[in-house]
């Protein structure tokens, strides 16, 4: 079964083959569930002219934000990019292009890309700047726009636990875009907090089956919190009810 052993030992092996001008799809929402070490490796490699598809672009000095420091990103496909001063500067300078895409459409574009569906119709964005220039079709009296799938030469994914075969489980809301990103890359690289032997993960609880995954590496994560908000009151942990 060694043909299924996808574990690599170094970040160099993990990102081998990445070249200028490629499209990289990255899992994560804000700084939650991001493949920190793989992003750092892209910075080390100095690859330029990248198209990066990710819901956000990190913050100054952390996450995908570090790829802006040496102007490695040419084009960013995201739903929200407001957390990052360097991004703003490069956007206004014209050094960076951004394609703002509704969050659900972005997730579905990745899902469709991984599932071999070239495009889909959605009501989201119809009649707005997002719908401009896109094909419109009416179903049951309601207009929908045609949105095209996204695939990339590389996908970079952050898992909680992965086994040697690339089966992955994500933890809490760090799941977010990771499963869709995993499915949409020609080469999908998973950086996991923990690597286990095949059989240690319950097959019924696997989020991403190993068939989507090409390489697995064990990472060390800072897991920075973007907005720490703490409650001072006593919690009622049942469904939201008045006291």
């Amino acid at each position: 079964m060694s043909g299924f052993d996808k574990v690599v030992a170094t970040y160099q092996e993990a990102m081998d083959g990445l070249a200028d001008g490629m499209t990289v799809i990255a899992g994560g929402f804000g700084l939650c569930g991001i493949p920190e070490g793989l992003i750092a490796q892209i910075k080390t490699l100095g690859i330029k002219e990248l198209t990066v598809v990710s819901n956000n672009c990190g913050v100054d000095g952390f996450g995908l934000g570090i790829l802006l420091e040496d102007k490695q990103i040419k084009r960013m496909v995201s739903s929200y990019v407001g957390e990052n001063a360097l991004f703003e500067k490069q956007l206004l300078n014209g050094e960076l292009e951004v394609e703002l895409t509704p969050q659900g459409t972005l997730a579905e574009k990745m899902r469709a890309g991984g599932a071999g569906i070239p495009a889909f119709y959605t009501a989201t964005g119809y009649g707005t700047p997002v719908g401009e220039g896109k094909e419109v079709k009416t179903f049951n009296g309601r207009p929908y726009i045609l949105e095209e799938a996204i695939t990339g030469e590389f996908s970079i994914v952050k898992a909680w636990k992965a086994d040697r075969y690339g089966n992955c489980i994500y933890r809490h809301t760090a799941q977010n875009f990771n499963p869709m990103a995993a499915s949409a890359g020609t080469i999908t690289v998973v950086e996991a907090e923990e690597i286990v032997e095949p059989g240690e993960l319950n097959p019924s609880e696997i989020h991403t089956p190993g068939i989507y995954v090409n390489r697995v590496i064990k990472g060390e994560f800072e897991k920075r919190i973007e907005r720490k908000v703490v409650s001072k009151t006593v919690h009622n942990t049942t469904a939201k009810e008045s006291q």
Binding site: S79, G104, A107, V130, T173, A174, R224, S231, H235, K240
Partner: protein
């Protein structure tokens, strides 16, 4: 007198029914979670992939892997579920979320909403707002009735780039509760001490006054 943010949120929460799944936007909508009426349970959906969002964590519960759609640390209630972003937006776009409450810059008499982009200012993105307005069964817009210069935000036609078309049915402002009906704003309730004439003067689009305008209970 114009309602406070908390009072608007209180009025919003009166719309919820027992057993509703609700998505609350940032700002006043989020405050509504604190005013859910007695005997009513709602489950909060956070579009990054959490159904059954709880309160902010205590210091000892902080977890970088548990955040809400505003990227704030959060907890999950008993009976919550967590899923990927495509699943999260499938429940939104598929019309499974009962209520969406969100803010806006402008709403017009056709039920169009503008909430994400002001030309000439830096555009940060729409996040999930376009998906939410295209998918929820009931959408409530909460906003101040006028902008900070006193200009109406309820218009004949939105002037800013849209978030969604023909999707808004109910608006709760600091002055009134209105519905969008047949190309007009239908005035249903007014804030205590606010006259119909005040509301008329501060509304840009056609306003139809309901036969029985009641006072908002806050």
């Amino acid at each position: 007198m114009a309602l406070s943010r908390d009072q608007i949120a209180m009025r919003v929460a009166q719309e919820f029914k027992d057993g509703d799944y609700v998505n609350l936007g940032i700002g006043i909508p989020t405050l509504a979670a604190s005013f859910v009426p007695e005997g009513i349970s709602v489950m909060l959906q956070s579009e990054n992939g959490l159904l059954g969002m709880g309160p902010y964590p205590h210091e000892d519960e902080l977890d970088a892997d548990m955040i809400n759609a505003g990227k704030e640390t959060v907890t999950a209630i008993t009976g919550a579920s967590i899923f990927n972003s495509a699943e999260s937006f499938a429940m939104i776009r598929g019309g499974h979320v009962d209520f969406t409450v969100l803010g806006a810059f402008e709403v017009d008499v056709s039920g169009n909403i503008a909430s994400w982009m002001i030309p000439g200012k830096l555009v940060k993105g729409m996040g999930g707002a376009m998906d939410l307005v295209a998918g929820a069964k009931n959408i409530i817009v909460t906003m101040t009735h006028t902008d900070k210069h006193g200009n109406p935000k309820l218009l004949r036609e939105c002037t800013l780039p849209l978030t969604g078309v023909n999707c808004i049915t109910r608006i709760i402002t600091d002055l009134a509760v209105l519905e969008v009906v047949d190309g007009a704003f239908l005035l249903k309730e007014r804030a205590p001490g606010v006259t119909v004439e005040d509301i008329q003067a501060k509304t840009g689009g056609k306003l139809v006054v309901s036969e029985n305008v009641t006072e908002m209970r806050v």
